[in-house]
Amino acid sequence: MTEAEAVRAEVETLLALVRERYGSRLDAEQLAGVRTSIEGIVQASRALRAVRLGNADEPAQPFGAYRADP
């Protein structure tokens, strides 16, 4: 499978999910717009996945255990 075919397959899979959830609300033009957006999302996700990180590279996200006073 070529890179382009892989992207297309990924887009179609994700579009099927969105169509399943919201398809009844979308006309053909809107669905085409959703497809374009998903293409962007897939391209972005592939760019993110192309960067290798180590096991210790945590999300830059603060979380603290919570306890109400006292």
């Binding site: 959830r21 959703v34 957006s37 972005a44 960067v51 990180l53 830059a60």
Partner: protein
């Protein structure tokens, strides 16, 4: 009251009020009149808060007469982007038709802090619906209509703090509060030829502000000068138990700083790629000015997918923040046709990819801090283009139709930046210059911007028909 107060910086107005040459009540009346008379011309205003303004102005006048001067915002009129909660029956619409009648029973922390500083809330200002988080592609993306640019009424003022930019540029308020998730302070400031400050993430409480993206949203001022932005920031900054992302770092604005200070500026290699010619030319001229204020060196960032990192975080968090509106189909009530369906696509963002973006954000934050450490600021064009025309398409890095490494890195890493006007481009529209600094270095970027404004007069130019 003389019209010359209309375009006077906050610092000048404050001195007049402190010395009791200016009456806060008369000042409020002047700006309320302009908001009511000229606000519709720019689609800049959602609600003029006349009753609350006059009550606050009368209180300020009485306190100052009694010798209880609170500081440089005492008696100064301002406007707030209409995503900041306000009590007293004043609607808070988020710029979106489904919320046009919604009223909160409390004030956002920023509104309370400005009240404590004695500022006078004169208006809730127009904005792109839901701060642009649903994927709009055109200026007509608010129930109040497209934000109109005071420099050219066929051009856009936004976004998404459209009214905050145009109201300051048109002399409807001396300063305004806007919000930025990615570009929503720097863009309207640049489009409208005013100064805008995006503070460090966590510097200003967002309690009571509409959440678009919890890890990206920042609140900050737009005003005529960088110096004024510092005055406002001091009033609104600080730890707030109601917003756990705020940090316990005292902020004091010391003023523009000593004349003759030397700065170390960096320019990212290729930062003007994709910019309009006039933007590139004005930036080149700005660099010549900056060379008179210090050193200017080219720097590089490692090759990372900066736009994709910040975009993925933005899309995922916005889809979650507005889950109810999206899943209920409520977005069908939004103004821009594309805002009625684009967010459905975000269900396609996988959790693992969102987490990857958050992990890469850490790398990005460390890398940009490494580049910034020996510098006072990275400088770049505030935007790659002048404002879009009202009937045109808005180019946006968020949707991938424009390039904005500075915005992706600055917002993704939560760094402060100030945009100031630096010339004009096509159709008589302003261009801008941004200074971006290390985390918590607002005073450094403000000092650099103020030094630039001391050496130029772009910030003193006014639209012809205001």
């Amino acid at each position: 009251m003389a019209e010359d107060v209309v375009f006077a910086p906050v610092r000048v107005l404050a001195e007049g009020i402190r010395a009791r040459r200016l009456s806060p009540v008369a000042l409020a009346e002047t700006f309320l009149d302009r908001l009511e008379r000229l606000g519709p011309r720019y689609n800049a205003v959602v609600t003029v808060t006349r009753a609350r303004a006059l009550e606050q102005a009368r209180r300020a006048e009485a306190e100052i007469a009694a010798g209880r001067y609170r500081g440089p915002l005492h008696g100064i009129p301002y406007g707030a982007k209409d995503l900041l909660a306000t009590s007293g029956g004043i609607p808070t619409t988020w710029g979106a038709a489904p919320f046009r009648d919604r009223v909160f029973d409390f004030d956002a922390t920023v509104i309370l802090k400005l009240e404590a500083a004695g500022a006078v809330l004169c208006a809730k200002l127009a904005m792109v619906e839901l701060a642009g988080g649903m994927g709009y592609r055109q200026p007509n993306a608010a129930f109040t209509g497209p934000g109109v640019n005071p420099w050219n009424r066929e051009a856009w003022s936004g976004g998404s703090s459209s009214g905050s930019g145009s109201a300051v540029a048109a002399g409807l308020v001396p300063f305004a509060v806007g919000s930025e998730t990615w570009g929503s302070i720097l863009s309207p400031a640049g489009n409208c030829g005013v100064s805008g400050l995006r503070p460090t993430y966590g510097r200003v409480s967002r309690h009571g502000a509409m959440a678009l993206c919890w890890t990206l949203d920042k609140l900050g001022p737009l005003a005529l000068t960088a110096d004024d932005c510092g005055l406002v920031l001091e009033a609104i900054a600080g730890r707030d138990p109601a917003d756990p992302t705020t940090m316990d770092r005292l902020y004091r604005y010391p003023g523009a700083g000593p004349a003759g200070r030397r700065f170390r500026f960096g320019v990212l290699r290729g930062v003007t790629d994709g910019c309009e010619d006039a933007v590139r030319e004005n930036f080149a001229r700005s660099l010549e000015v900056l060379k008179g204020l210090g050193t200017v060196d080219e720097v590089t960032l490692p090759d990372l997918p900066y736009d994709d990192i910040t975009r993925t975080i933005l899309f995922a968090e916005a889809a979650s923040a507005f889950e109810d509106l999206i899943e209920s189909g409520g977005i069908a009530g939004l103004t821009a046709p594309e805002d009625r369906y684009t967010a459905y696509a975000r269900d396609a963002i996988l959790a693992k990819d969102y987490l990857k973006a958050l992990r890469l954000r850490g790398v990005m934050a460390r890398e940009v801090d490494r580049v910034l450490a020996p510098l006072d600021a990275l400088v770049a064009p505030g935007r790659s283009t002048v404002a879009a025309m009202l009937g045109g398409e808005v180019r946006s890095a968020i949707r991938g139709t424009a390039r904005d490494v500075m915005g992706a890195v600055g917002n993704g890493a939560g760094l402060p930046a100030v945009a100031v006007p630096n010339g004009f481009g096509a159709r008589g529209l302003p261009t801008s210059l941004q200074f971006m600094g290390r985390a918590w270095e607002e005073n450094t970027v403000l000092a650099a911007a103020a030094a630039y404004q001391s050496a130029t007069d772009w910030h003193a130019r006014r639209p012809a028909e205001v």
